[in-house]
Point group: C2
Chain length 200, copies 2
C-alpha cells in the first residue's frame, strides 16, 4: 500500500498498550519488544501506554509486530490503542518522516499466524460527512474479507492478525485522505488467544 506520508509531513501516531492476561505479563511484553525493530519510529513508553510516531507505514509495522510477537506466546493478549493523524497540536518527532518506505518488521510478522478478533472505530474529526467516511471504510473492510459485523460503537473484524492489521491500516489511511490535512483517529482492540467463544 502507498503510504500516507509520502511527500508530506503528515506524522501518524499510535498510543497503545499490550495487555497479556498472565502473571508473567512483563516478560511477555519485554520479550516481544526485543524482537521488534523500532528504529524508524519515535517511541516512548510510560506506566500506562506506549506512543509511537512517524510515517504511517512504520507506525503500523511496529504496532503490529509488537502485538504479534506477544501473541505468538499463546498467552491471551490484547492490543488496545488509538491511531491519530493530523492532530492540530502534533509536531514533535518530525525527523522520523524522512525514513524510507521499507518496513523493518514485515517479514518476521508475516511468518506468524495468529487468529484475532477485533473491534475498531474511526473518528474523522471536524467533518460533516464523517458518517459517510466511516461507512465507506466498512465497505473496504468487507472487500478485505475480514469484516464480520457491526456492533454498538464499532465494527468487528476476524481473521489472521496480518490481514486484520492490513484492513485497519487501509481504513485509517483512506479516511485520512478525505480532506487536506484532515484529523482522523481510530481506536482498535485486537484480541488473540481468548478462552471466550467467538461472537461471530
Amino acid at each position: 500500500m502507498q503510504g500516507l506520508s509520502c511527500g508530506t509531513s503528515r506524522i501518524v501516531g499510535c498510543r497503545f498498550s499490550i495487555y497479556p492476561m498472565a502473571d508473567n505479563f512483563i516478560d511477555v511484553i519485554m520479550k516481544a519488544l526485543k524482537e521488534v525493530d523500532a528504529r524508524k519510529v519515535w517511541m516512548e513508553t510510560d506506566d500506562i501506554s506506549t506512543c509511537i510516531r512517524g510515517r504511517s507505514e512504520h507506525v503500523f509495522d511496529v504496532a503490529k509486530a509488537i502485538f504479534i510477537h506477544a501473541a505468538k506466546t499463546d498467552v491471551h493478549v490484547v492490543f488496545n490503542g488509538t491511531f491519530s493523524v493530523g492532530c492540530p497540536g502534533d509536531s514533535e518527532g518530525d525527523s522520523y518522516m524522512s525514513e524510507n518506505d521499507e518496513r523493518l518488521n514485515e517479514y518476521a510478522s508475516s511468518k506468524v499466524k495468529v487468529e484475532v478478533a477485533t473491534q475498531f472505530a474511526l473518528y474523522p474529526m471536524n467533518n460533516p460527512e464523517y458518517m459517510q467516511v466511516i461507512a465507506d471504510q466498512v465497505e473496504v473492510a468487507k472487500a478485505h474479507g475480514t469484516f464480520t459485523k457491526g456492533v454498538h460503537y464499532a465494527s468487528r473484524l476476524d481473521g489472521d492478525a496480518n490481514a486484520v492489521f492490513k484492513t485497519i491500516e487501509e481504513a485509517f489511511v483512506n479516511a485520512s485522505k478525505t480532506h487536506e490535512r484532515s484529523h482522523v483517529t481510530m481506536t482498535a482492540a485486537i484480541s488473540a488467544n481468548s478462552p471466550s467463544k467467538k461472537h461471530l
Copy 2:
C-alpha cells in the same frame, strides 16, 4: 452531578474491557461482575469487550464499579474503553432511559480506595470548535485536582479511582452539552496496581 439524560432520550454507551494481568484473569473479572448491580443499564458482553448503555449516570456508575471491584484484588488491572453519546446510528436499549437518578453502585465503589493512572481523550464529532471543547475540559480536570499533564494524543490524570472517574464523567457530560444532540466520544485507559514507576 446533574445527569446528561434528564428529560431527554440521550442514551450514553460505553464499550470497554477489563484487563487483569494475571493467570486468573477470568476469576478476577467474574468476581467483580458479581459485585456490581447492572440492572439500570443494557449490557452485553462478547469475546472482546462489554457494552453498557443507558443514562449517563448509570453507565459511569457501572463502568466504575466493575473496574474498582476488579482493581481492589491488587492485581494489575486496566480499564480501557470508549464512551459515546449522540451517535446517529444509536437506538436500541431506550427502555433503560426511564430509570431514576439513583446510582446503585456508588456507595460500594466509594468505600474502595484504589490509586489509578489514566490517559483519556475527548472526540467531539462534527464540530469546528472541537479543539476548544477539549481545552475547556482539560481546565475542568485541572479544577478537579486530578490532571497531571498532557501527553501525545491524551491527557493524563492521577489519583483515587473515584476522583478520576468523576473527572472523566464531568468532562464527557460537559463536552456532550456543547451542541444540541452532539455526538461525542471519549477514550479512557485507567490503570491500577501497575508495577511500573509512575511517569508524573
